[in-house]
Symmetry: C2
Subunit: 406 residues, 2 copies
């Protein structure tokens, strides 16, 4: 007997037939004697529609109201999934974030889970009931307003729930059957990875390999939750996200990732004074705008150009904050470019091998792709390029690092 959290993404609950399929899969685990908790996302497309409505009404909308609106997607699917489970004889009950409760901070739209009060769920699981928990949702500390965890937050909900319920495994059912060396829609010869380390997965997720959401991998690594990624449509083994120690042969490059959810911001001729970076990035951080890659070119005349990237959805808020502070910061102009993509090569073997970055730069140069920004970490090299070159860059790098399937 194991305790399992089963998480189903938007495409797995996209219509009633798929929800019935989810119920059948859950029943199989229940019939095998396991204690099961289910986490579901919104029907695919539903959240996009809700987000669009909020943005169309007001680009700078109140994030608390945004959360009220978008949280409904998961509320629909938990109810429907509970009904589908009951219809095939599985005792089930839906739980919204505020009902569990899943307590978060009050960073609406991208809240962090503080803790999950899971005792009642454990009690019911031990009595044979299947809790169907809304992914993505939380409750802020005053316990009156709904929060959401940001896009892809249902993975985080599932991993956090697995940790809180002391589950033996967290199975993430999705529309792909595992984690690949890159996006198979771009490179048909991409290979499925049997195992991948938390750290590699983290780098891949953070640069847009959207199989698992970044923070869910961070949390899995911290709470040592064993995560399995597998298809909700086929019966075949998925990919395991495990500790690095469990991986025998460490490839230099495990995968190529890309992200089109980036936007580039350049501040022209910022006065080159101590503390100017803090004055630029302080207010952005206070407004929960995450800044990623940063480069600064010091000019000859004491002015400097500062370039950085933010999440594309944060761009209006970011430019609004900086334009308001233009006089104080003293820059000459703000140039925003949403048409960029971040391409990354990732591998734990990189730590002990040189030459990975130069191979990347040479490969891109050979294809005539201009590199706008570079950033590196221990196990990753990322570059920012014009969005139009995304597929070309990914394909060239996949081949250059010998990742193409035979």
């Amino acid at each position: 007997m194991s305790r399992i959290v089963m998480k189903f993404g938007g495409t797995s609950v996209a219509d009633l037939d798929r929800i019935r399929n989810v119920a059948a899969r859950v029943k199989r685990e229940v019939d095998a004697g396991h204690q099961v908790a289910v986490v579901v996302s919104a029907m695919s497309g539903a959240t996009n529609q809700l987000v669009k409505w909020c943005q169309d009404l007001s680009p700078l909308h109140d994030a608390r109201e945004y959360d009220t609106v978008v949280a409904t997607g998961e509320q629909v699917t938990i109810g429907l999934t509970a009904i589908a489970l009951q219809a095939i004889g599985v005792e089930a009950r839906s739980w919204q974030g505020w009902q569990v409760p899943i307590i978060t901070d009050n960073a609406h739209g991208k809240a962090r889970v503080d803790r999950i009060e899971g005792d009642e769920l454990i009690r019911r699981m031990e009595q044979g009931q299947v809790p169907v928990v809304a992914g993505f949702q939380g409750l802020e500390p005053t316990r009156n307003r709904v929060t959401t965890l940001g896009r892809g937050g249902s993975d985080l909900s599932a991993v956090a729930l697995a940790a809180a319920l002391k589950a033996d495994r967290c199975d993430i059912y999705t529309d792909v059957d595992g984690i690949y060396t890159t996006d198979p829609r771009i490179v048909p010869r991409a290979k499925k990875l049997e195992r991948i380390s938390y750290e590699e997965m983290l780098e891949l997720a953070s640069v847009g390999a959207k199989v698992l959401q970044t923070r869910s991998v961070e949390l899995a690594m911290k709470a040592r939750v064993r995560v399995q990624v597998l298809s909700s449509f086929e019966d075949k083994p998925g990919s395991l996200v495990v500790d690095e120690d469990e991986i025998m042969e460490k490839p230099i490059v495990s995968g190529i990732a890309y992200s089109r959810d980036e936007a580039k911001v350049t501040l022209r001729r910022v006065p080159d004074r101590p503390g100017v970076a803090a004055r630029v990035f302080g207010p952005l951080s206070a407004a929960n705008v995450n800044v990623d890659m940063i480069v600064q070119n010091i000019g000859a005349d004491g002015g400097t150009d500062m370039t950085f990237t933010v999440g594309r959805s944060d761009l209006p808020r970011c430019t609004d904050i900086l334009e308001k502070a233009k006089a104080e910061l003293g820059f000459e102009a703000l140039i925003a470019d949403p048409d960029v993509a971040k391409i990354s090569v990732v591998g734990i073997g990189m730590r002990t091998h040189a030459g990975v970055a130069s191979t990347m730069f040479k490969t891109l140069a050979d294809k005539g792709i201009n590199i706008q920004v570079i950033s590196t970490s221990e196990i990753k090299v990322s570059v920012l390029v014009a969005a139009d070159y995304t597929e070309l860059a990914v394909r060239a790098l996949h081949t250059a690092y010998g990742l193409d399937a035979a």
Copy 2:
């Protein structure tokens, strides 16, 4: 300075432009110095889709899960309406039923409001904030699960909120511009009523004149809430629902109503024993199935045919309960007919005038319409006919009682 509750139905919030229009109307009242609370329904069509999903998954679904699913419709519109209000400079905040809270009983799917804890809302209204409250929603007594008030429950929410907030008026904005002598889609020469008594409105609402939901009129009568029905698309006076004393000339017949949401159930050859009616209707009542018209024909041989009507959506549950009790009740067969309509003539003047019923029967007979069941009250005569005859019957009666506009 007045305190006003403004309620907007599904067609008034059907898309973003209409939500902006709602916000503009609310702003006008706020700018005039009034304290305003807003109640909104789900976007038109949204609730139907949600209900259909529940029914398609399981006709006998768990009403608690149904409530979880269908409550999302209003949750979407409160968030969007709050955003639209903020976008034009009106301070606003959305409130779900559980957040206010609006405490109901635990009759999921058709809960009754027990009380509204409105102190926080009053405090905020006095500070100039507009609460945007989800119609239709409540919270059952354990305060963990969402309830809904049944179809059309947003009117009830608005009237209950008006009572709890001690509002001077409850304005119900809808897609019609008032209350008519009958449905103008069926009779183009129907006339708008300037005033109508609570009791007449109650009879009209309960037989399907869907301008106001039955229980909302009952509550308005009990709490003496002045209700105005008006169009959210045009600027013209609506109809006032007031105390009978405020109506000078009392017409014999004020209106003709119809309802197609009925289903007829006949139990053939029920043993004619004392207590059999209690044994039939007890379990239906326990399951929250409302029984309306009842007739019983005593046969010569000790058996009896019992016919009654229930809401059409309750029909599967009703037949399920009775078929299971068939042996105990001893009837020979259950015949269900969903293709019926209830036609009613209503008027407070009926109390002091005879001949209303015979005019009705003669008019229908002249058109060849067979009457299946008859029921009467002090100010109403209702008949059940085959659904196909609905329009014909309504038109003939509207003319017969002299209600056609000149």
